[in-house]
């Protein structure tokens, strides 16, 4: 059967955003999103935990080379989002509300194609130390 092990890499990025549904007027956005809809943006230190699960390779002892995982996250996620305005500076959130939920799904989709299909991928994203999301949900 072999033993399955999860490896984790933590990264972070600092970004501005606002929550806003373009189909609603300002009053409805403020009512629903509160301060998160303020027009001049606010920001977060996002903390990202990427979990990769599989059986350690017999030759290397690795589930996945953590340096490769770190480079992958930097190339696909951090370079896109760090010190950026998610609403204004990114293709991914041009027409997508950058809630933590949507961001975690986007991050999953950015990383998944680059990780061996035999390995499971799971993302946890902290918007603040007290609010975090996970995808896929168990």
């Amino acid at each position: 059967m072999g033993k399955r092990v999860s490896v984790f890499r933590k990264e972070h990025f600092n970004a501005a955003h606002r929550l806003y549904n373009a189909a609603w007027d300002d009053a409805k956005n403020e009512k629903f999103f509160g301060k998160c809809a303020l027009p001049n943006y606010h920001g977060h230190n996002y903390e990202l935990e990427v979990k990769v699960t599989g059986k350690p390779d017999k030759r290397t002892g690795y589930v996945m080379d953590m340096k490769n995982l770190s480079d992958l996250i930097r190339n696909e996620v951090t370079s896109r989002f760090d010190h950026k305005n998610l609403n204004l500076d990114t293709e991914e959130f041009k027409d997508l509300n950058p809630t933590a939920e949507n961001i975690v799904i986007v991050i999953y989709k950015l990383l998944r194609p680059h990780i061996d299909k035999k390995l499971d991928l799971h993302i946890r994203l902290y918007e603040t130390p007290r609010n975090f999301v996970e995808y896929p949900a168990n």
């Binding site: 600092n14 501005a16 010190h83 950026k84 500076d89």
Partner: protein, 136 residues
Amino acid sequence: MVYLTRAEHFNAAHRLYQPNWSYEKNEEVFGKCANVNWHGHNYELYVTIKGEPDADTGFIFDVKKLSNLIKEHVLDKVDHRNLNVDVEFMKDKMCSTENFAVAIWEQLQPHLPVGVSLHCVKLYETPRIYVEYFGK
């Protein structure tokens, strides 16, 4: 003398940009922090006051009142805001964490009662970067 600290937090956008310099020079000095569309942080704020505990209450100062002062004079002005654009007390100032900590001190100091002094404003921009200001 006893020190009492209240911890608060807020989320805000900002950018580091010196208007007297070219964009190239700003990018050279501030790097990604000069992004024109801002970036953001979860700031953690620690306000430390000092004094002698009152004989009757045992308090230096009611920490609920301290929390309300921080909320009224700092958090309500900066939380979920753009520090460069929305915050009057940061107007015309470079929005570094250093300057921000000093400005927060100046927002709070006038409102503390007699016998209670501000000792330190400690401000985390990220979990790995923080500043402390002791009023001098």
